[in-house]
Amino acid sequence: MNEHIIKDENLVYKKPSTLLDVPMHYCPGCGHGTVHKVLMEVIEEMGIASETIGVAPVGCSVFAYNYMNVDMQQAPHGRACAFGTGIKRVMPDRYVFTYQGDGDLAAIGTGETIHAASRGENILTIFINNGIYGMTSGQMAPTTLPGMKSTTSPRGRDVETMGYPLVITNLLAQLPGVAYLTRHSVHKVANVRRLKKAIMKGFEYQKQGLGYCLIEVVTNCPSNMKMSALAANEFVEQHMLPYYPLGDIKTPEEK
């Protein structure tokens, strides 16, 4: 080994100090890992790790507290926004975020999401939309695309009987309590950078007390899409993004 090249000035990649040095349980190529890292980078760079409280969902990211070195609680399936509300109301000077999958946020927890947003709770939600139930192995999610196969829509999602995908982020835009809604992805480096900026804004807006902020990340689930990581990212680009187009949906100026 060329020991001499291991120097700070040669460093091209490192984990933020806010991420604990433990192996993650996520499948290879899964978007969760990338989003965890970006989120923790922002918290490190903003210097707010000691005053941030996070909420983990039920879903693949249930163990987020094993990786993120910020105080965290793990909520029952769908109830992260109620947890976030409870925490923020008694600790108003802390930064509070929830981290939730699509089943958690837009199926079983739709009520909690909409009402937290409607009350304008000063919390930030990171919403991982991978179009499928990851943790329970590939059942249909509220965000599963029409025609998309899952273990509970093996012939493809039939909108006649299974209904349409719930584009919940756009739905939330109507609520006056909502300050910031934006949709991102992590399938390309440039997109990851944009997501990082958005998360930073989300915390900034929270500091200013502007209201509810939600950042949707359209991502993959290679294991349950039964594809390689690369193919899953292509699927995201070709099929998911047309249905869930990237970009800002609501900004504080429009509030």
Partner: protein, 357 residues
């Protein structure tokens, strides 16, 4: 002496929350306990003590707000009535598992189903035997007077914090709705942020190197069993130390009347009527339904001809009474259901029918 007021049980419960230094109340309206949130809204506790109140969108949301806020080490409470308490069960189970102190009051109405808004005691099993999923217990206090509604809020938080466990107050619609004279304890200041328990609460990491996290998840069964063993050990300690009951006229008693909450008060009246007719009747009223006062029943069992258990349900606590006496004496039950309240005369008449003739 503290301040004396004439108050409805529900209002007294609400006033006690403010005075005990609660940091937050989350709840959803349901008869017969809606006066709790109404009273709080009227009082504006934020201006009195800085206490947060919030009308949640459902009981499911309310209990999870409680979890979030109580997970920060704050004093947090919610109240509801039977159907709402059913909805909260998942959250309660999570809190028992994650060892989060909090107080939950159930002002019971008659069930099952939507049932009736009239008073009942039919949620005994739900409160005492678990209610939600998994092997856990709640400390359950059963107030029988408006005064106890007040006292139990304070005691409830003391127990919850001592054992890091949710505590349930099991009242009924009649106690919630009726007015009695109460003595209120003076205002207890809310905890400062610097007093929050840094060993476990999610307060923000502050100077700690490592985060605190609260979870009830443990994928490995070995680890999960360890947690269960720890919980069970805690429950044994609670059983050894926290039993409360009230007993009267046990000396020379041939019969024991027993019941809890409102049922016990009616039993006491029935026993008075019975004693006037020459029957030797003592009364036992468990104040903690969990831990159940097993020993006192077992003690009296060998000295009496029988125990007459009266409840506003189909016979729930009576199972624990039977377990406690383990066959040493005859245990009989009389109850009314669906929001009906037995009268003292009715109780005595049924006692005579069963035990005397």
């Amino acid at each position: 002496m503290g301040e004396i007021r004439l108050m409805k049980g529900n209002e007294a419960l609400a006033e006690a929350m403010i005075r005990v230094g609660c940091d937050a109340y989350f709840g959803y309206p349901i008869t017969p306990q809606s006066e709790v949130l109404e009273y709080l809204s009227e009082q504006d506790p934020m201006s009195r003590t800085g206490m947060v109140i919030l009308q949640a969108e459902s009981e499911v949301a309310a209990i999870n707000m409680v979890h979030g806020a109580a997970g920060c080490g704050k004093r947090v409470i919610t109240t509801s009535s039977s159907p709402g308490i059913s909805l909260m069960q998942e959250g309660i189970s999570y809190m028992a598992a994650a060892e989060i102190p909090c107080v939950i009051a159930n002002v019971i109405r008659g069930g099952p189903g939507l049932g009736t808004i009239q008073p009942s005691q039919s949620d005994y099993f739900q409160a005492v035997k678990g209610g939600g999923h998994g092997d856990y217990k709640l400390i359950v206090l059963a107030p029988s007077t408006v005064q106890e509604m007040v006292n139990h809020v304070k005691q409830g938080f003391e127990l919850a914090e001592k054992y890091r466990t949710p505590v349930m107050l099991l009242a009924d619609g009649a106690i919630g709705q009726m007015m009695e004279k109460v003595e209120l304890f003076p205002q207890i200041p809310r905890k400062k942020d610097s007093e929050l328990p840094q060993e476990w609460a999610t307060t923000g990491r502050g100077d700690r190197k490592l985060r605190n996290f609260i979870t009830s998840l443990n994928i490995q069964p070995e680890k999960m069993e360890e947690i269960n063993l720890h919980l069970q050990e805690k429950y044994r300690t609670i059983e050894a130390n926290e039993v409360q009951y009230e007993a009267n006229n046990l000396e020379g008693a041939e019969y024991i009347f027993t019941g809890f909450g409102m049922g016990a008060r009616i039993c006491n009246k029935a026993a008075e009527l019975g004693r006037a007719k020459g029957y030797k009747i003592g009364v036992i009223r468990p104040i903690t339904l969990y831990p159940f006062p097993v020993a006192i029943y077992n003690d009296v069992a060998s000295k009496v001809k029988g125990i007459f258990d009266v409840e506003m349900n189909a016979g729930q606590m009576v199972e624990d009474v039977k377990l406690a006496v383990s066959g040493k004496t005859r245990v009989e039950f009389y109850g009314r259901m669906g929001g009906m309240i037995p009268s003292p005369e009715e109780i005595l008449e049924n006692f005579e029918k069963i035990f005397i003739k």
